[in-house]
Amino acid sequence: MDASVRLHLLKSCISYATHDHVRKSGHRASMPPKALLLTSQPSLRNVVSRAWRAATSITPYQTSCFKPNKNWTLRSIDHGARPYSAKTKPTVSAVLKNIKDHTAENIVSIFHSRSNNPYHNLAIENYLLRNSHAQSKILLFYTNRPCVVIGRNQNPWLECNIAKIQEGLPWNAADWDDGVLDNDRHVIAEERDGYNVSLDLVRRRSGGGTVIHDVGNLNFSFIVPNDKDFTRDKHAELIVRALMAPMTVTRFRDHVLYDNVHVNQRHDIVMTCANVDGGNTQKEFKVSGSAFKLTRGRALHHGTILHSSPNINRQVFVAGDEGGQVAASVFSALLSSPAKPFLEAKGVGSVRSPVHNLFDVTDQVQRREVVRSLRKEIGQLFMDVNGMGDISVEEVGDEDCAVDMNGEIYRDAQELMTDDWRFCQTPTFEYRSEDAGGALKMRFQVKHGLIQNASLEHVELDAEQQLKFAGLEGKKLHEIQSWTSCLPPHAGFRHAKACAHLETVFPKIQPAGAAREGGAESTIIQEADLSGSNQDGIAVKRKAPGGRIELERGGENVVVER
């Protein structure tokens, strides 16, 4: 990189940090400001890192610096939070590339993904399922950035509130942990009051129902032979043992919210607790949901562990039944579908259960402690039950999903992000607005995402012409940008009311992984804005109003804060 550009970027990092600190003094800052430090020279990086910390008065473990390595894949440098196993290797791409040999030599192995990108984590998981040695036993951990994950055969229109997911949640830096910086190229490092960050809507490959993921949720994934030893409860029981282990219960005794945990009939883990909400009655809450994928003699059992979601007690405003806005919990707002009364669907519905955090932990450092402890406890039990000794953990991450690292993982992640996967894989369903405020009586079917067999009452046309009249011929439901420009006015119904209804029920879809800053439109900037930036193969892609700059080098996106 051109030296002047590098210095320019570093200077702006420091001045931004200082300025930001002053601006925030006296302001509740749940997390110190962060930035991406961009240099290939370790000595220079250290100087900047020190200056940075002095300027922002933050302790080393709170800092996350990132350096592009020589191939410009990003790698995190974590000053305080050391990996929990000394055997962890810094670069593991080779392990995934040679996964068959690796899992043949290490018949029991544990992986920890540093990525918080749900598409990457699911792709890594699927790769392990399909490419590991047939007899190997694998445990993978990951935590996703806030997202809503539906089951393989579910209907996103029916399972969640897509508009709310896209509108997102008010930004709070602590919700993203440090992981956001090293894993997510769309770095949003500062607390952004007034900004929303939209969530990912993800379809996984396993069965089951819809779950919400965030930083307070640890995902486990067991990949084992699908033989007579495998049962749907086997690994859930192992999680229960880890949660009830003296190590867990006594270490976090001031924060443990459960009296007991057990596996229920649905293969979920529930906790019982006495004095929740100040009451005296014993209550049961779901804390972990399971789903399975069985293929070619292998079984994948993955699930969530809701240890300390910051969203569980948060509320947001949603449209009330009688107009206006009412407060609702974040979880129920994200999962209540406005389309539900109008849809009749095949496929798999979710079973709603009350959920609860396992631990009363709101502090980021403590949350990380809980996660590390759970991973260690579960990992050790997994080794124990398989007659193995000490844990050795391989770290994987976004770098393993690069096209030139593991093409199969890359392509799988790309597929998960397509609307063909997210929407067209929805089992056939029918829309019926018998009762849409008298605006329009309309029906249509959606098969593989494609709208078929529309019929509009009061519009006297042949069956096949109705689809054309409604502007829906050959249209995929998720591709409709505007119902107003689709559906023509007609004397038979109130056009504005009908369109307003349809836009509520089937909102416009954002592409997966779209920039997640609600309302903050990025603007293209000219290369001249950063003189010399096109040297050394660097291209400025865009600059957001907040000062975020995206650079591209060798196909890799690199993001710089101001």
């Binding site: 089951g151 069965g207 994928k293 069985l294 070619r296 095949k346």
Partner: protein, 123 residues
Amino acid sequence: MVKKYTEEHEWIEMDADNKIGTIGITEYASKALGDVVYVELPEVGLETAKGETIGAVESVKSASDIMSPVTGKVTDVNEVLSEKPGTINKAPEGDGWFAKIEVTDAAELEGLMDKEAYDAFEK
């Protein structure tokens, strides 16, 4: 008529001409999977190779792939399963059949297990 079984717990029964094979999942598999709630059928006309995924069933939160026991072309699918996926549990080796495949090379069947071998196969 020839009926064979795979290690993936699928069966294939050839018609009298030994050309079209009807495939499905075995009694054992249907019990192991539990209540089937959704079946993903292949498209008619799909050309598939032995061991390729041609569909899936979901039961008790498990998505299970169905692999084609032979190379060939899908000529028919059991639409009943779209409406009543539970038919797979009621009669996995009867009304709960999955698809019909025009078999490219009948010799492929010789590599599969007969009933006796499948019953003895460790599950």
